[in-house]
Structure formats: structure tokens, C-alpha cells
Amino acid sequence: MIRPLLKKIKSFFCILLGLALSGNLFSQNTTIKGFADVLASYDKKASFGFDEQDLFITSQLNDHFSFLGESVFKYDPSSETDFSVSIERLIIKYNYYGNNNIIVGKVHTPINYWNDTYHHGRVFYPTIGRPLLFDAQIIPLHTTGINFQGHDFGNVKFGYDFMIGNGLGSAPVKDNDPYKSVTAAVHIKPVDGMRIGASYYNDVISQGAEVEGKIINWKVNQQLLTGSFAYFGKKFELLTESTLALNHTDTTGTKQTLASYLYAGYKITQKIIPYIRVDDLHYQDGEILFTKDNTQDFVLGLRYQVNYLIVAKLEYQHTQFETEGKNDKITMQLAIGF
């Protein structure tokens, strides 16, 4: 009676020991970080709020494979709980040779500096919010697919991205049509703090596809051309980007949209940085993919960097919409990393 019981106990401990050992042998270096921010604004009335809570996980799986995940918890009025969770990035990276990597999963489309650099970490943003071209959905923020990426080659630190993905209208788990999006981007970093980049994006959005909640009633061939210049030095900060969107349908022909912004900051001290940002969105008459609303925006702000994990910003924003007229707003933000 006792012997079988002892045998079972022994087996159980052997399994436990095995599991513990395997845990040690394949121990991973996994870190979890997070970002959040709270806001106070005045726009005809005072208001308090917050943006998103962002959880960011990295894990080194072995010498060549690594994982990066970014999940965002945010306000969603359509949800029963008023909040929803979204997977913003899910990346498995294989470093196959030198600085060359193959990335599969959902990424922030490597189409411009802001989208490829700041992601959802508002503690890194030089201004409180993103430039207008993001809210206007001029560029595809995310792409699910495969990306061939390399960086820091040669004296000018050349980098590249070549990505094939599901494209606009698709879900992260499945493509909605046979068309694939193609992103090709290159950049150089000739001096410390400077990055000059250019990119090309092409996708076909099929008739009936839903893009950012809008049903597209025509087949649209989209091409995006983007140029960017960024310099974050000891005293001056300058970031400017322009995207030219060419949306073609058989009935309307090709319509052009030009979306640009320029950010400039000056470090009075390492902690205190006054800054400005100007945005311009210009749509050609007859544009059917984007919601046409020519907009100009001016932002004047002050950033106070308490430390690398705590940043406070105060901004005045003046926006001139084609459809709704002008709007003035004052916003304060406290952004943190944890």
C-alpha cells in the first residue's frame, strides 16, 4: 500500500524538479514597462481626463529570437465597461545576421519618424499629442505582416525597412482581400541626434472594405510618399515630416493630399524646453478615401522634464478647421513611465 504511494510522491517530486530545472535552463530575460498620462484642459469648459494605459513587454527568447508586445487599455464608449484593450504591437524578431532582422507580427508601420519612434509612450512625445496627420488617418498606423529591417550600416548609419502586410481594411488576424500593402523605407543618421528618412507605401483598398470605421465604396489604389528630418541635439530640437497621399479610383482619377508638420524646441536647460508645432492638412477637391477637412494648427508649449520617467507639458493650441471653424484649447499633461 505504502510503496505505490511513495512511488507516486517520488514521481511528483521528480516532475517538479524537472520543471524547476527546465525553468532555470531556459530562463528568459523578460521585462514589463508601462506608460500613462493624465490631462487637464480648457476648451470653453475645464475638463480632466487621461489618454491610455500602455503596457510594454520585451523578452529575449534566445540568442536570435526576441519578443515585443504593446497592449493599450483605453476609453471606448462602445464597450460595456467603457474601456477596451487593444494589441498595438506584437512582434517576434529574428536577428539573422549582424544588424539585419526579420520581424513578423503587428507593427507600427515604419512609414515616418513619429510612428516608428514614439509609439504609445507619451512620456517620449515632444508635444502633448500626435501631429494632426495621425488623427486624420492619412498614414496607416499599424501593419500586420513581415518586415525585413536593418540599421546602422556604414558611416552614415544607413537603415532600411521593407514590409509586406495585410493592408488597410484587413483585421490583424486575417486579410480581407488578396491585395498586400508594401512599405519601403530608408533612413540615415549622419550625425548624433539626426535622422533623415524617406518612405513609399502602396496598398489597394478593395470595394466595401471598412477602414477606421468608414465603409469604402470604391476600390482605391493608394500610394504614400513620406519625407522626414529629425534632429534632437543638446540645445535644439527640430522634427518635420510631410506625407503626400495619392488616392486613385477609376471614377475620380488620382486625388492628392498633402499632410505636414514641423516641431521645434529649444532646451533652456536640460529640463525646460519651450516648443512650437505647426500642422497643415490639405486635401484636393474630390478626395474620397479621407474625410476632406483642410486644417491648420498651431501649438505653443512648454515641456518640463522632471526625470526620464516623468514629464509635464503645458500647451496652447489654435486650430482652424475648414468645416467647424477655429478652436482654441489649453492643455496640461503629466506623462509617466513605470
Binding site: T31, K33, S66, Y97, G98, N99, H119, F124, H151, Q270
Partner: protein, 158 residues
């Protein structure tokens, strides 16, 4: 008269106190900047000699692998140690806060793995000795025979 004397003595004490604190701070910052640094690496990875520009590029995460294919792992002293503060200044030309932000941003972008930050030179020596491809910076003579010194521009120390 007495009151004026007390106020005068008080002012003198206050001035002396301020001078003392300023000198103390200056001596701390001088210490941080004058630390002699030595670059060490695991025998499987870094070459015997590097140029300063190459070292800076490696320590900024711009190079993922050595020529032999080993993955580069960076080990640094914590930025609140004199050697860590000196590494920030001499190698990165950044404050400790700037360095932490630099690495957090780089990891967030998915472009590099963060360095391992350790408390002492001996911990860095052990880490470097145990991990092929590891490179580290210490502020004292190398004691671990399993790690070797990397010459920077032909010199043993920075």
C-alpha cells in the same frame, strides 16, 4: 549691538556653509569626471582593440553582433556610481537621466536590448567573464582572468 553681532556671525556661518556645499558638490563632480575607465570583454566576442568611435557605436546599441557572430551584451556600472556617472560623460556625452531615457526609448522602439546595469566592477567582471559576447566598463584593474582588456585607440584606459 549684540543683535547686529549675532546677525553678522549668522551671515558668516551661512556663507561658509554655502561655500562648503559648493566645494563638496564640485569635488563630487570632479571625482565623477576623473574616474579612469577600462573596457573589458569576454574572450569570445570583442577584438583586442577598438577605436573610440567603434566603442561608442557599440555601447549605443548600433551594433548587434561581433564579427564571430556572438550577440553583443553591454554591462555598465549603475549611473549613480562614480564609474557609472563617468561612463555617461566620457562615452555617451549624456547625463545619467539622458542615458536612461536613451535606452528606454531604444528598447521601446525594439531596436536594441538594454544594457545590464550592475553595482560594482567585480560584478561586471564576473558577468563579462560568464557571457560570451559581453562587453563592460570598469573603474579598477582587471582581476578576473576570464575577461580581457580591450585597448581603445591603443590605450588600456580612458
Amino acid at each position: 549691538m549684540k543683535n547686529r553681532h549675532y546677525i553678522h556671525s549668522g551671515n558668516m556661518l551661512f556663507t561658509k556653509g554655502i561655500v562648503f556645499i559648493v566645494l563638496l558638490l564640485l569635488s563630487f563632480s570632479a571625482t565623477a569626471q576623473t574616474e579612469t575607465l577600462t573596457v573589458i570583454s569576454n574572450e569570445k566576442g570583442a577584438p583586442a582593440e577598438l577605436k573610440m568611435t567603434e566603442l561608442k557605436s557599440i555601447l549605443k546599441g548600433e551594433k548587434q553582433r561581433w564579427r564571430n557572430g556572438n550577440k553583443i551584451t553591454i554591462a555598465l556600472m549603475k549611473t549613480n556610481t562614480p564609474a557609472g556617472a563617468s561612463t555617461c560623460k566620457k562615452i555617451y556625452d549624456m547625463s545619467s537621466d539622458e542615458l536612461k531615457k536613451f535606452w528606454l526609448a531604444l528598447v521601446f522602439e525594439g531596436k536594441a536590448d538594454a544594457p545590464v546595469f550592475l553595482n560594482s566592477a567585480s560584478e561586471i567582471e564576473s558577468f563579462v567573464a560568464e557571457n560570451p559576447g559581453a562587453i563592460g566598463i570598469i573603474n579598477q584593474p582587471l582581476a578576473n582572468a576570464d575577461a580581457h582588456i580591450v585597448l581603445i585607440d591603443g590605450k588600456k584606459s580612458l
